[in-house]
């Protein structure tokens, strides 16, 4: 039984992350505390670098990754926002950094509880974005994350999100693979595209003129390549552990004969699954689609999963004031039809089974509704 934060730390340990720059922020701090204790006791061979800000953390991640070491860190909320400038630098330099975000609503007003606006602020930063639904998925995703991000067809950083407190501080049974298993699955990182060795001098982070757009198009291509890599890595992981996490990009639940469905991401999906089961016992044909990756955005997979569903709703634990639910906006664009957009759970506000039941009863309208 370990917490989501413990699972994230275990992921880094099993992946043999070598450089761990860090800065404390609630509700992430237990991750770096756990790693600090393992390094101190000799259970984990890594350098623990306490930095002076999250901006310095991501800068250290980028520099150490540029030199070809495997790196890991974790942050939350305001910390993730302070990293923003360097998020783009890290993806632009094509550095396969793994960063866990323990989601937490943004200030002001200040809150400690979870929603997804912190992650979605980084939506356009060129990072792969993965949402986890439980603690096992956190551990699995961190280890798989390195294999995906370091794939030569991808070479992009990845952010792995777990919901603050609901997962980060809650203990769940988690199967921890052995080091031997993971060493076979995940080879050592030896990049060819970034080298900081005087034997092979390379200038990194220089200026470009007209070529800028060419480099951006390569990032886009890498993001597209990542889809099949994620699917393949999940399949390999499933063979090894029995856990494939859907097809990698989305997890469909009771959608085969569903006439109504809700799209959601993160740990709330567990309560929604329970609600689906409950309503199905009453004969209602409801289902759920869990979004695992926000980037790459799994448009084809969403269309495949929801094309026969009559009424679709999207739960957004985020808001772009002046536009609407961020995920709903993207889902509408990809489906080419209206969906009911529900803004819920901001700042960790409880949703619960009763409200999900109510939400299922309010589908079929192309409107935005706030569930308080």
């Amino acid at each position: 039984m370990i917490t989501g934060n413990g699972a994230a730390a275990w992921g880094a340990r099993l992946a043999r992350a070598e450089i761990i720059p860090n800065f404390p922020i609630t509700p992430q701090t237990a991750i770096i505390e756990e790693i600090a204790s393992w390094i101190a006791s000799g259970e984990m061979d890594a350098d623990f670098l306490p930095m002076e800000s999250e901006h310095s953390v991501i800068s250290a991640l980028a520099a150490a990754s540029s030199a070809g070491t495997r790196v890991f860190s974790a942050t939350s909320s305001q910390g993730l926002l302070l990293m923003t400038e360097m998020m783009f630098v890290t993806s632009g330099l094509r550095l396969p950094v793994i960063l866990v975000n323990v989601s937490r609503g943004l200030s002001a007003p200040i809150t400690l509880w979870s929603d997804h606006n912190d992650v979605l602020v980084q939506r356009d930063s060129g990072w792969l974005q993965m949402f986890c639904s439980n603690n096992q998925e956190v551990l699995d995703s961190v280890v798989m994350g390195y294999k995906i991000a370091e794939n030569s067809e991808v070479l992009l950083p990845m952010m792995i999100n777990l919901d603050g407190f609901t997962l980060s501080a809650t203990r769940e049974p988690v199967e921890i693979p052995s080091h031997d298993e993971i060493d076979d699955f995940l080879p050592a990182y030896n990049p060819k595209h970034t080298i900081l060795d005087p034997k092979e001098p390379m200038s990194m982070g220089g200026a470009v003129f007209d070529e800028y757009m060419y480099f951006r198009s390569q990032q886009r291509m890498a993001m597209q390549n990542s889809k099949s890599v994620i699917t393949d890595v999940c399949a390999e992981w499933e063979k090894m552990t029995g856990r494939g996490w859907g097809r990698g990009l989305v997890e469909p639940y009771c959608l085969d004969d569903a006439d109504r469905a809700l799209l959601i991401c993160g740990s709330e999906s567990a309560i929604l699954k329970y609600t689906v089961d409950k309503l199905r016992k009453d004969g209602e044909k409801v289902g759920m689609l869990r979004l695992r990756t926000m980037r790459p955005f799994p448009c084809e997979e969403i269309v495949d999963a929801l094309s026969d569903v009559e009424e679709i709703g999207v739960i957004d634990q985020d808001i772009s004031p002046g536009s609407g639910g961020i995920i709903a906006t993207e889902v509408k664009a990809c489906l080419g039809r209206g969906v009911t957009s529900f803004i819920a759970g901001l700042g960790g506000r409880r949703i619960g089974v009763e409200k999900y039941e109510k939400i299922f009863g309010r589908l079929g309208r192309d409107v935005e509704e706030w569930i308080f």
Partner: protein, 299 residues
């Protein structure tokens, strides 16, 4: 610490790791400083660059650098250098780590990151190439800008004095701090050698006269640097393990007007203004003389 023993220009190694043909301005002392530093540091050096003028040395698909070079952003050279120190150790790469960042990137936006690296006493050489303004964006005010200097954001002259960055570094108790100027190349390269040999962090504040921002003929860059030192407006000194010592004491200091009147950024000053600056400089040097030019900082 081995005493560096370069005595004349021809003692400086011929090898270049910053080669010609790059796009720095004519008369740029910052690129000269980097060239000199790399000559003595040699090929086993990795450079971290904070955004600024020197960031435009490598322009895709070319680079004038024959040593590894990493530019990330303006404010994080200290953090990047810290991580690089540990990463190179893990890769069994034995190399000097040189952070080469401007004064805006050092005194202002990057101070937090630099302080973090200094507090950890990371074994690296941090050279602040100091043109006393945000030079690459066109000469705007920085906390390194001297009092009275025109910048594009202090159109009537800066009111405040420059921040004493070496003193801030001294407060971090790092083992070696120096000021320098490429107009005194032997002094500078010997200081770079000391900085490389010292175990822990070394900080060198390198005055680099900027023809574009300061307003002088590109051919005059070296002379302007010499005048800064000979008038006593830029002091060459070292702080080794907390002990301050002057590296060069002008026998007879030139009048500050010689330095100030040679630059467009001070052209708005009246004779009275210049007289006031002279009084200030004289007072500083009187205090230095009273202390014997060498003393324990006691911090």
């Amino acid at each position: 610490m081995k005493t560096p023993d370069l005595k004349k220009l021809t003692d400086i190694p011929m090898e270049d790791y910053l080669v010609g043909g790059h796009v720095a301005c004519q008369g740029c002392s910052a690129s000269l400083g980097l060239r000199l530093a790399l000559k003595v540091l040699g090929k086993d050096t990795v450079v971290i660059n904070g955004s600024g003028c020197m960031t435009l040395l490598p322009v895709y698909p070319t680079t004038p650098l024959r040593v590894p070079w990493l530019h990330l952003a303006i404010e994080n050279s200290g953090a990047a250098g810290t991580a690089l120190y540990y990463a190179l150790r893990r890769k069994n790469i034995n190399a000097n780590i040189l952070c080469y960042a401007g004064d805006g990137a050092t005194y202002d936006i990057g101070l937090q990151s630099l302080s973090g690296a200094a507090e950890k006493n990371i074994d690296m050489i941090y050279i602040c190439y100091n043109n006393q303004s945000f030079g690459n964006t066109g000469h705007q005010r920085a906390s390194s800008t001297p009092r009275a200097s025109y910048t594009s954001t202090t159109p009537v002259g800066k009111v405040e004095a420059a921040k004493d960055m070496p003193a801030i570094m001294a407060a971090h108790k790092i083992p070696y701090i120096a000021t320098a100027c490429p107009s005194y190349p032997i002094d500078f390269v010997n200081k770079v050698t000391k900085a490389a040999e010292v175990k822990g962090m070394a900080y060198i504040d390198l005055l680099v006269p900027c023809p574009v921002g300061w307003g002088f003929d590109p051919a005059e860059g070296i002379n302007i640097g010499r005048l800064a030192v000979r008038t006593g407006m830029w002091k060459l000194y070292e702080i080794t393990d907390g002990r301050f010592s002057m590296s060069y004491i002008p026998k007879k200091r030139r009048k500050v007007s010689e330095y100030l009147r040679a630059q467009g950024r001070f052209s708005h000053l009246s004779d009275a203004d210049i007289g006031a600056i002279q009084v200030e400089v004289d007072r500083e040097w009187d205090a230095l003389e009273a202390r014997g030019y060498e003393y324990e900082l006691g911090i």
